[in-house]
Amino acid sequence: MKGLGETLGALAIQFCGLSLVAFGGANAVIPEIQRQSVGLHHWMSDREFAALFAIAQAAPGPNFMISTLVGWKAAGLAGALVATAAMCAPSCLLTFWVVKLWDRYRDAPLRHAVGAGLAPVAVGLVASSAWLLSRAADLQWRLAAVTVVTALAAYLSKLNPLWWLAAAAALGLSGVLG
C-alpha cells in the first residue's frame, strides 16, 4: 500500500490527463479510467469498478462522477475531491479561454459558419449517446420499452423529465419489469 500523498498525486495526474483527452465527454474515457484504476494502480477489481460506474450513472448529476468514485475508492474523501477537481480543472480552463475568443468574434461570418456547421454534428453526437446508452441499459425488451416510452413522453410533453424518471423507478421497484 502506497502513502496517501503518492496516491493523491497519481489520481491528479491520471484525471488531469483524461480531462484533456475526453473528447465527447466523460463516457469516452471510461475504458481508459478502468485500465488505469484496475490494471495499473490496483485500486479496485473489475467488479468493483462496474459497481461504482452503475452508481455514478444512477446518481443525479453529470456523468463524469465515476472519477469522483474512483478517487474515493483509492484514497477516501481527499481522493474523491482531488479526482473530481483534476477531471474538471484542465478542460474548464481551456474552455474558459476558448469561449472568450469565440465571443470576441461573435459577429464574424466565419464564426457563424463554425457554429452553424458544428450544430448538426453535435446533434448526431447526442443521438449517438442516446443509442449507446440505450444499448448498455436495455438488457431485455421491457427495459427497451421503458426507453422508447420515456423518449416519446419527454419529446411530446414539456413536463419536468424527473417525473418520467420517477415513473420508471417506480416500475422497477414494483417488479413488473422482471
Partner: protein
C-alpha cells in the same frame, strides 16, 4: 461587459437581464440535482425553456463548442454560460452549482450501495432508471434535430446522420470523426451562407 451586451442584443424579445453569479449557481444547482446519468436534457430545459437565457440556436451552438473541446460536455457548458454572462466569477459559480451537490450525493450513494445494493428490487430500480435516462437523451437529440432539419435539410441535416453513423454505429474514435466532419460541415455552412 461587452459580451453581455452582445448576448442580450441577440436574444428574442423581451430580453431578460443577464444572470448574476448567484443566479447561475442556483440555476445549475437545480440542473445538477435533476439529471440522472447525464444532465443534458435538464440543462437544455433550464437554459432554453425555463429561463430563456439562450435561444434554441445559441444552445445548439454552445453545446457544439463544448463537445468539440475535451472534458465533460456539461461541465464545459457551465463555463461557457457562466463566463458569457458574468465572467470568471460566473463560470466558477455555475461550475460549483453543477458539481457540489451531486458529488456529495454520489459519495453517500456509494456508501449506501455498498451495504444495500443487492437487496430486494433495488437492482431492478437502477436498471429501469438507466433505461429511462437513455430515453431522455434520445428526446433531447430529437428536439435539437427538429429546428435544424426544418431550417437546413440539405446543408446541415446530413451531418447529423454522418456523426451518428461514425460515433454511434461504427464506434470510431470521436476525435477522428470530428477531425473529418467538422471542417467539412463548416465549409458547407460557409458556402450555404454566401
Amino acid at each position: 461587459m461587452t459580451d453581455v451586451r452582445f448576448v442580450s442584443a441577440r436574444r428574442a424579445a423581451p430580453p431578460a437581464p443577464a444572470p448574476r453569479p448567484g443566479e447561475l449557481f442556483a440555476a445549475f444547482l437545480w440542473v445538477g440535482l435533476s439529471g440522472f446519468g447525464g444532465v443534458l436534457p435538464f440543462a437544455r430545459r433550464m437554459l432554453v425553456e425555463k429561463r430563456a437565457w439562450l435561444g434554441e440556436a445559441e444552445f445548439a451552438e454552445s453545446l457544439a463548442l463544448c463537445q468539440t473541446l475535451p472534458g465533460p460536455n456539461i461541465v464545459n457548458l457551465t463555463i461557457v454560460v457562466g463566463a458569457r454572462f458574468a465572467g470568471p466569477a460566473g463560470a466558477f459559480a455555475a461550475l460549483m452549482g453543477l458539481v457540489a451537490a451531486p458529488v456529495a450525493i454520489v459519495l453517500v450513494l456509494a456508501a449506501l450501495y455498498g451495504r444495500y445494493g443487492g437487496v430486494g428490487r433495488i437492482p431492478a430500480m437502477i436498471a429501469a432508471l438507466g433505461a429511462a435516462a437513455a430515453g431522455l437523451v434520445a428526446a433531447t437529440a430529437a428536439r435539437m434535430a427538429w429546428p435544424i432539419v426544418r431550417r437546413a435539410p440539405v446543408s446541415a441535416a446530413p451531418f447529423m446522420l454522418l456523426a451518428f453513423a461514425g460515433v454511434g454505429v461504427m464506434r470510431w474514435p470521436l476525435a477522428w470523426v470530428l477531425l473529418a466532419l467538422a471542417p467539412l460541415a463548416i465549409a458547407v455552412a460557409w458556402r450555404w451562407r454566401r
